[in-house]
C-alpha cells in the first residue's frame, strides 16, 4: 500500500524528483534488459567450472564449447522466431537430423558441388518452414500440431534415407566443422553472423517489429495494416533454414550423413529461448537473451562433464536452471505490473467511474 502511495505521487508530481526519476529510469533499464542476469549467470558458471577444472578454460576446450554453442545457438535463434510470433516449432530437431543426411547425400550421392549442396539443403529447410507457415496461416492449424507432424515425419525420413551412412569425402564439406579462422572455429563464425543478422532484422528493421507485433496481438497487428500471414510464414522459414544450417554443421562434424538423431534438440532450443527471456505467449524476447540462454545451457552441460558430474544430474541441473529462469521471469513481470511505472491520472473519481460503469451509462450527462 505504501508503494501504491508513492506511485500515485510520481504520476501527480510530474516527476519533479530527480532521484526518483533516476531510480525509475534505472529500474526500467533493468526491466528492458532482463538478459543481463543471464549473461551474468553464464560468466559465473564458467568461472566456477574453470576454477574447479582449469582445463575447462583451455583453448581446445573453448573451441569445443564454441562449436556446441554454435549448433544450439543457431537452433535457438530459429526457434525464437517461431515463438516470438506466438507459435512454436517442434520440427527443428528432426529436421536437423534429416538435413545431416540430406546434405551429405546431395554432395556425395547426387554429386552436387559442396556449396550448391549447402544451398539446396538450406532451401529445403526453408521450404519445410514455408510448408509450416502456409498450414498455420491458411488453414489455421495450431503450430504445435503441424510442426509435430514434421517432428515425426522428418525423423522417419531421416532413418529411411540413411540406412547406410553416406560418407563425406569433400574436404570443403569437412572443413566446415573442422577448420578455424584465427583460432575461431568456422561454426562459431557462422553462428555469429546469423546472430547478428537475426538481431539486426528483429530490432533494426520494421519487418522485425511487425513480427513482434504479430506475436503480441495478432488481430491488433492485422487491423493496424500489417500483413500478419506473411510475417508468420517468414518466421517459420527462418526456423527451418536455421535447422538446415545446423544439419550441415553436424554432418561435417560427424564426417558422414548418419542417422544420428538430433531429435529432441528442439526442446533444448525452446529452453534456451525461454531462459533468454523469450515469452512463450509471443511478442517478447531478444536475440541477446537467446544467445545467452543457449550459452548458459552449453556451459552447464560441458562444465558438468568437465567436473565429472554424472550425466543424470546434468539433466536435473538443466531442468533446475530452466525452472529458475521461468520463475524469475514471472516474478519480474508481476513486480512490473504491480509497482512499475504506472501512471495514474490525477482524477480519482473519474477513474472510479470509468472502471465501474458499464459502457454507455454515463451517456446521459455529457
Amino acid at each position: 500500500m505504501a508503494e501504491d502511495g508513492s506511485v500515485a505521487e510520481l504520476g501527480g508530481a510530474d516527476g519533479k524528483r530527480p532521484g526518483r526519476r533516476a531510480a525509475v529510469r534505472f529500474a526500467q533499464r533493468l526491466a528492458d534488459t532482463p538478459e543481463l542476469g543471464i549473461i551474468g549467470a553464464v560468466g559465473v558458471a564458467f568461472a566456477i567450472f574453470a576454477s574447479i577444472n582449469p582445463l575447462f578454460a583451455s583453448g581446445s576446450e573453448l573451441q569445443n564449447l564454441g562449436v556446441d554453442l554454435a549448433e544450439f545457438g543457431i537452433l535457438a535463434i530459429g526457434e525464437s522466431f517461431a515463438i516470438i510470433t506466438g507459435g512454436i516449432d517442434l520440427g527443428i530437431g528432426s529436421l536437423t537430423a534429416l538435413m545431416v543426411v540430406m546434405s551429405a547425400w546431395l554432395n556425395h550421392t547426387a554429386q552436387l558441388p559442396v556449396l550448391l549442396a549447402f544451398l539446396v539443403a538450406v532451401l529445403m529447410g526453408a521450404a519445410v518452414g514455408l510448408w509450416h507457415g502456409l498450414w498455420i496461416t491458411r488453414l489455421g492449424i495450431a503450430p504445435f500440431i503441424i510442426t509435430l507432424v514434421t517432428f515425426i515425419g522428418a525423423a522417419g525420413a531421416d532413418e529411411a534415407i540413411a540406412q547406410t551412412p553416406v560418407q563425406i569425402s569433400s574436404p570443403t564439406f569437412l572443413a566446415v566443422a573442422g577448420s578455424t579462422v584465427a583460432g575461431v572455429p568456422v561454426p562459431v563464425v557462422i553462428f555469429a553472423v546469423i546472430a547478428l543478422l537475426a538481431w539486426f532484422f528483429l530490432e533494426r528493421t520494421y519487418l522485425g517489429r511487425q513480427v513482434y507485433a504479430v506475436g503480441g496481438n495478432r488481430e491488433a497487428a492485422r487491423l493496424a495494416g500489417i500483413p500478419t500471414n506473411r510475417r508468420i510464414i517468414l518466421a517459420y522459414v527462418v526456423s527451418g533454414s536455421c535447422a538446415a544450417v545446423v544439419g550441415i554443421i553436424f554432418a561435417s562434424q560427424l564426417t558422414s550423413g548418419t542417422a544420428d538423431s538430433t531429435t529432441g534438440y528442439e526442446l533444448i532450443a525452446i529452453a534456451s529461448a525461454v531462459i533468454g527471456g523469450v515469452s512463450l505467449a509471443g511478442g517478447q524476447g531478444r536475440i541477446v537473451g537467446v544467445v545467452a540462454g543457449a550459452a548458459l545451457l552449453v556451459v552447464l552441460e560441458q562444465g558438468l562433464v568437465a567436473v565429472n558430474v554424472n550425466a543424470y544430474y546434468q539433466s536435473m541441473v538443466v531442468a533446475f536452471v530452466l525452472l529458475v529462469a521461468v520463475v524469475a521471469d514471472r516474478l519480474r513481470v508481476r513486480r512490473l505490473e504491480r509497482t512499475g511505472v504506472r501512471v495514474r491520472t490525477p482524477r480519482p473519481p473519474d477513474e472510479a467511474a470509468e472502471s465501474a460503469n458499464p459502457p454507455g451509462v454515463v451517456s446521459g450527462t455529457p
Partner: protein
C-alpha cells in the same frame, strides 16, 4: 419495503405479485444506474422491457437474476426474498436468463449442452445417453428446433445456438424467464418462433421479461411494456397505449439533439470515399459517400452491421459485391494492409483484443501503422527516428505518461484510446474509421477524444464513426446514417437530427423517411 409508495402499478398486496421489485437502487460511483420504486410482474405475463443503451435494463435484469447486488431495496420472487448477491439463489427461486452472449460449450454436443450441470436420470457416475437424448429432444421441441442432438454446438449457426440457449434455460423449468434481446441474431422466421415460445411460456404460468430493441417485436409479444430511462421507470404501458411512437418518446424523453453547431465540412467537389451497392455477408447493399473533412455517424441497433460496415471498408472483412472508391480511385482492399496502404485507418471497438499491444511500450503502439514510412530506405527502423516520431505522436494526442517506453498496460482506458488515435492520426489517412471511439472511457477522456476527432477533421480526413450512443454522434457528426439489418434505413443531416426519429428508424421495421 412497505414504506415505499407504489408508483405506476397498482399494488394488491405485494406478495400477490410473483416478482416484486421494491425500492431497488443501484449506484456505480456517483452515478445512479437503476432506481425502481415499485414494479410488480405477475404469472402469465410477458413484460416487454425497453430503454436506450445505458437506461438500466441490463442492471435491472442483473438484479433479478442475482448477478448484481442492489445498493438498496428488495426483490422477491413468489413471496420469497432474493438473498443478496447470488445467481444460485435466484436460480433456486426459478429465475433463468438468456443473454446476448452464448455461454455454450462449443466442443460439446447439443444434448450435453442442454443438460450441462444436471443429470437426466438416477445413475450416479455414468452418463445415461438415452435419457439425456430424450430430455434434450423434448427441450428442443419446445423451442421448435429440429436438429440432431449429437451435433457439436460449434457446428451450428448463430440462430440455432440462440434457440438452444433458450431451450437450455427452459430446461431449468423457470418461473421467471429473462430473454435479453433474444432475436437480435435471428431472422424473421426464427424470431417469430421465439416470440411464440415466450407467449406460450407465460400462458403456462410463467413470467417472461422480454428485453428488445425491435419495437414491433416487443409490441407483438408483450402484455405490458415497461420503459426505463436513465435508470428510472418512466412508464408502464398497456398494449393499447404502447404505440411505437409512444415508446420511443418515453425512451428518449426530452429531445436534446442537436446541440451546438460544427463548422461546415470542406465543401470540396471531390469525394474522399464512395461506396456503391456495397455488399458483404450480412451487410448491404448500401451506398455511402464522404467528403474530405466530413464526419458521418453510423447509428443502428446491436447486430445492425455498424462494425461490419467499418471492417468491410477497412478490408478486414471481404465485400462480396459493389464498388468502393477512395479519392476517385478504385479501392478493392483484400486485407487491412491494403486498406492502410490506400489511406484508410480503423480505430477498432475493443482495445484489448483489437488494438493494443499491452505488454509493448507506448512507442511500439503508436508507431505501429507507420513503421514502413519512418524506416530508412523503407527497411531500417532507426531507433532515434522512431523515438522522435513516438514522442511527437504522444504529445499530439496528449497521452499522459512519464515516458513512451512504459508498457501500454500501465495507461488508463482513455489514455490507451488516445494512443490508438495517435497511431492512426500519424498515418494521415484519407478516411478514418472509428468504431465506438469512446467505449469504456470516462467523461473527461471522452471530451478529449471528441477534440481529437475535431482535429482530425480539420486536417481534412473524412471520418466515419459508428456508435451506440446517439448523443455522441449528434455532438460530432455532420450527418448520421442509420443501419437496420445491414442496410441504410435512413439518413439525417445535422439540421434534421432527432433522437426520436433516429431510434424509430433503427428499431421499427418498415419505418421509412
Amino acid at each position: 419495503m412497505a414504506s415505499v409508495s407504489p408508483s405506476s402499478t397498482d399494488s394488491t398486496a405485494d406478495t400477490g405479485g410473483d416478482l416484486v421489485l421494491a425500492g431497488v437502487r443501484k449506484l456505480y460511483g456517483p452515478a445512479v444506474v437503476l432506481d425502481v420504486d415499485h414494479l410488480v410482474m405477475r404469472r402469465g405475463e410477458v413484460v416487454g422491457l425497453v430503454g436506450e443503451n445505458g437506461a438500466g435494463k441490463s442492471t435491472m435484469m442483473g438484479v433479478v437474476a442475482g448477478a448484481v447486488a442492489p445498493d438498496a431495496g428488495t426483490v422477491s420472487i413468489a413471496g420469497e426474498l432474493l438473498g443478496s448477491g447470488g445467481t444460485l439463489h435466484a436460480q433456486e427461486l426459478g429465475v433463468a436468463m438468456v443473454s446476448q452472449e452464448f455461454p455454450l460449450v462449443g466442443q460439446l454436443s447439443v444434448a450435453e449442452n442442454l443438460l450441462l450441470g444436471r443429470r437426466p436420470s438416477e445413475r450416479r457416475f455414468l452418463i445415461d445417453g438415452r435419457a439425456m437424448d430424450a430430455v434434450a429432444r423434448e427441450l428442443l421441441g419446445a423451442v421448435g428446433l429440429q436438429i440432431d442432438t449429437r451435433r457439436r454446438v460449434d457446428s451450428l449457426s448463430v440462430a440455432q445456438r440462440q434457440l438452444i440457449e433458450i431451450a437450455k434455460a427452459l430446461g431449468r423449468d423457470p418461473l421467471v424467464l429473462i430473454l435479453d434481446e433474444p432475436t437480435s441474431a435471428l431472422g424473421p422466421a426464427e424470431s417469430d418462433r421465439v416470440l411464440d415460445f415466450a407467449r406460450r411460456h407465460a400462458r403456462g404460468g410463467g413470467i417472461v421479461i422480454f428485453v428488445g430493441h425491435r419495437l414491433n417485436e416487443v409490441r407483438a409479444v408483450a402484455d405490458r411494456v415497461v420503459v426505463l430511462r436513465n435508470g428510472v421507470l418512466v412508464s408502464d404501458l398497456t398494449p393499447a397505449e404502447a404505440t411505437e411512437q409512444r415508446i420511443v418518446r418515453d425512451m428518449v424523453g426530452k429531445d436534446l439533439l442537436p446541440e451546438g453547431d460544427i463548422a461546415a465540412s470542406g465543401d470540396g467537389e471531390a469525394l474522399a470515399f464512395e461506396a456503391r451497392a456495397l455488399e458483404a455477408e450480412g451487410l448491404g447493399p448500401l451506398d455511402l459517400a464522404l467528403r474530405p473533412g466530413e464526419v458521418v455517424g453510423v447509428a443502428g441497433l446491436m447486430g445492425s452491421g455498424r462494425s461490419r460496415l467499418l471492417h468491410v471498408v477497412m478490408g478486414a472483412r471481404a465485400s462480396t459485391r459493389g464498388e468502393m472508391r477512395l479519392a476517385g480511385a478504385r479501392y478493392r482492399p483484400r486485407s487491412p494492409a491494403d486498406g492502410s496502404a490506400a489511406g484508410v485507418g480503423l480505430v477498432p471497438e475493443d482495445r484489448k483484443t483489437q488494438s493494443l499491444l499491452v505488454d509493448a511500450p507506448i512507442r511500439w503502439n503508436v508507431t505501429l501503422a507507420i513503421l514502413r514510412r519512418i524506416s530508412w530506405k523503407h527497411l531500417i527502423l532507426a531507433s532515434r527516428t522512431e523515438r522522435r516520431e513516438a514522442a511527437a505522436i504522444v504529445r499530439r494526442v496528449r497521452v499522459r505518461c512519464q515516458t513512451a517506453e512504459q508498457p501500454a498496460r500501465s495507461l488508463s482506458g482513455g489514455n490507451q484510446q488516445r494512443m490508438i488515435f495517435g497511431r492512426w492520426m500519424a498515418a494521415r489517412p484519407r478516411l478514418l474509421l472509428l468504431d465506438e471511439p469512446t467505449r469504456g472511457v470516462d467523461v473527461g477522456a471522452k471530451a478529449e477524444i471528441y477534440k481529437l476527432i475535431e482535429e482530425a477533421r480539420k486536417e481534412g480526413m473524412a471520418i466515419l464513426v459508428a456508435s451506440s450512443e446517439l448523443e455522441e454522434l449528434a455532438g460530432i457528426c455532420h450527418r448520421i446514417v442509420v443501419l437496420r439489418r445491414g442496410r441504410i434505413a435512413a439518413e439525417f443531416e445535422r439540421s434534421e437530427f432527432s433522437k426520436e426519429r433516429i431510434i424509430a428508424a433503427a428499431a421499427i421495421d418498415g419505418a421509412a423517411t
